[in-house]
């Protein structure tokens, strides 16, 4: 039993890999596919829950001090690739599993039949996400980034149509270039320190000669640019709104999580290198001002957005900006609220993306935008040997449970999402923003930092204010203007995931105390990376405790 539990960290990577490959090669039976896909996601959820449980010192005989190390192939740390689970990684894996479950169930309504390969790509995307959160090796991080990006290219184009292909073209070009930057950064870091293991790296940086040190910092900066492209920092984020807005609803929900991978990488590597007192003030300033510009861009975009889809994309940008800004303050009290905000905003934007897919159906199908994102003409489906799906934007004729109070549900879900995204009480968005403001205000005010704190406070309030104004306008048009509206038929498997995510956010509000305690300990272990470094180095695989 104990030895079995030791292999837990590798499961979130192996399970979707196997499931994705099986779906690809097994006979094309629809029932089999969705069974496999659902089973894989449920296993991931179970594993994530177990990881969360084990990491909180519930089983000290397996992992001490809240860090679990897994040596792949039983090679010891600096030579082999390690997977490391700490509280932050366990939380991100959990978040991935939750969003994946909601989005997968939602996609079963009809999106997964629009084109072949959806389920395989979805599983590979999950593998990349989990891998990026769990790995303790820089080059391995690159590989998992590529895995998740390659599948995200396919998923972004899922459903095809000119607007998706056009946005996808830009998305792929920008991210391929960012991958090259990633490689250059990793190569420079390896060339200077001779290691790719993150923990080993943090130790060796201290020993570098001054000349090598500056080259190392240049490499780290280039690596940082690659992460920032993924995180959507201004001015590297112009690809983001059109790609996310054009993506199909369940894909958009997972993409909401994908931007946070960049932020995760910044947090992970930033805190590890901070222990080696690398000169980070330049990076902090860059993070802060870059984040501020991103917030401004996001808020302006939110105000200008004419459609809910674009609004949600810009709100993803604004939240990424807020996260980067508060990371730039390097205030250790702020880390736990940052993580809380990250969790809450991922759940909220994922729910919002799916809700957007439902409300789009309310618009008359004759409007231009519906035509713009309509699926491919029949020829393509014949070419792929796929039956043409029902138009996802029209009130479908197919059999489904029509919820009598469809409009009531949509309106209620919309209001909840507004509260979450804008950070108004009583939902978790408010708790998160309040905790952030509290940490900023109560922090010992240094002379230089104090006005930075005020800028952050202004930014937090501005995002909320901008979101309320923009959403009031969009909401009025969506729900109160009677002309050109049809009451959509909703199916239970589409409504369920949206409700599930919103209920989770409500749960997050109700259980804010325990969650914050967990995140506080996650933040503490992030800011004391010595434990992480020591455990990675001393862990010997295969020794039963």
């Amino acid at each position: 039993m104990m030895t079995w539990l030791q292999h837990l960290p590798v499961l979130p990577i192996v399970v979707p890999l196997i499931a994705g490959a099986l779906i690809l090669f097994l006979p094309e039976r629809y029932g089999l596919r969705i069974t496999l896909a659902l089973t894989s996601v449920l296993i991931q959820l179970a594993v994530a829950i177990t990881l969360l449980y084990l990491i909180t010192d519930a089983a000290p005989q397996i992992w001490q001090e809240g860090v679990g190390v897994y040596n792949i192939g039983a090679w010891p740390a600096p030579f082999g690739i390690v997977l490391v689970v700490d509280r932050l990684a366990a939380m991100m894996v959990m978040l991935t599993a939750v969003v994946a479950l909601a989005s997968l169930v939602y996609s079963l309504a009809n999106w997964d039949r629009v084109a072949p390969g959806f389920h395989s790509m979805f599983q590979f995307l999950l593998m990349g996400l989990n891998g990026a959160f769990l790995t303790g090796d820089l080059f391995n991080l690159f590989v998992f980034f590529e895995v998740l990006l390659a599948s995200s290219y396919g998923l972004a184009l899922h459903g095809s149509g000119p607007s998706r292909v056009k946005a996808g073209l830009h998305y792929i070009a920008v991210n391929l270039t960012a991958s090259f930057l990633f490689l250059i950064g990793v190569a420079m870091i390896y060339g200077m320190t001779g290691t790719l293991n993150m923990a080993d790296l943090a130790e060796r940086v201290v020993l570098l000669a001054p000349a090598d040190r500056s080259l190392f910092e240049a490499g780290a900066a280039i690596l940082g640019v690659a992460f920032f492209v993924k995180a959507g920092i201004w001015p590297l984020n112009f690809w983001l709104p059109s790609t996310y807005a054009a993506a199909s609803a369940p894909v958009g929900a997972v993409f909401a999580l994908m931007t946070k991978v960049g932020i995760y990488a910044v947090v992970r590597i930033g805190t590890l290198l901070a222990s080696a007192d690398v000169e980070t003030s330049f990076i902090d300033v860059g993070l802060f001002y870059g984040g501020a510009a991103t917030v401004a861009f996001g808020v302006i975009g939110m105000l200008a957005a004419q459609h809910l889809g674009r609004f949600v994309s810009y709100s993803v940008i604004a939240s990424a900006g807020l996260l980067l800004m508060s990371l730039g303050l390097r205030n250790e009290e702020l880390t736990a609220p940052i993580l809380f905000y990250l969790t809450s905003s991922v759940l909220a934007t994922a729910a919002f993306f799916m809700l957007n897919g439902l409300t789009e159906r309310m618009r008359l199908t004759s409007t231009n935008d519906a035509a713009d994102i309509a699926p491919l003409p029949d020829v393509t489906y014949l070419g792929f040997g796929v039956k043409e799906p029902a138009d996802p934007h029209s009130p479908s004729d197919e059999v489904g449970i029509a919820i009598p109070a469809a409009m009531a549900f949509l309106g209620l879900a919309f209001v909840c999402c507004v509260l979450l995204v804008a950070g108004l009480p009583p939902l978790s968005g408010f708790v998160a923003k309040f905790a952030m403001l509290h940490a900023v205000v109560t922090a010992a005010p240094g002379a230089a930092e104090s006005w930075h704190s005020w800028v952050l406070i202004a930014a937090v309030l501005a995002t909320g204010f901008g979101a309320v104004i923009a959403l009031a306008r969009i909401g009025l048009r969506l729900f109160w203007s009677v002309t050109g509206r049809t009451t959509p038929r909703l199916r239970l498997i589409e409504v369920g995931p949206v409700a599930f995510l919103i209920v989770l956010c409500i749960g997050l509000t109700a259980a804010a105390g325990p969650v914050m305690m967990y995140l506080q300990s996650a933040a503490e272990s992030l800011h004391a990376p010595e434990v992480y470094i020591r455990l990675v180095h001393t862990h010997v695989a295969g020794v039963a405790p």
Partner: protein, 113 residues
């Protein structure tokens, strides 16, 4: 050798970036390909340029590391080649789809006026 190597990386990167910023999709994909060559050479160079030293240690137990080249960057290059090859192929498909759907090979999907 270092000079030639560095010049090659520089020329490849320069041409790659220039092509990447061009308006036609085919130029963009050529730019990406050139950039990936440059990056692969760069990774290789990060293992230091040496001649006559194998990257694989002999089985007879000779273990003076000075006699061997660093094998890690070579392994990294292999991985990077495979990944960039695959993503370039995928980009090519998207490029063709964009050409088919928009009727133009401009990256924005429409000709500038």
């Amino acid at each position: 050798m270092e000079l030639i190597f560095a010049t090659a990386i520089g020329v490849l990167t320069g041409s790659g970036v220039w092509l990447l910023l061009r308006p036609r999709t085919f130029q963009v994909i050529m730019g990406l390909a050139l950039l990936s060559y440059a990056v692969n050479l760069f990774i290789f160079g990060m293992g230091r340029l040496v001649t006559d030293r194998p990257p694989i240690i002999n089985a007879d137990g000779a273990t003076d590391p000075a006699l061997y080249a660093d094998p890690v960057p070579q392994a990294l290059v292999l991985t990077a080649i495979v990944i960039s090859f695959a993503t370039t192929a995928l980009f090519l498909v998207v490029l063709l789809a964009a050409r088919g759907l928009t009727g133009t090979d401009h990256v924005d999907g429409r000709e500038p006026e």
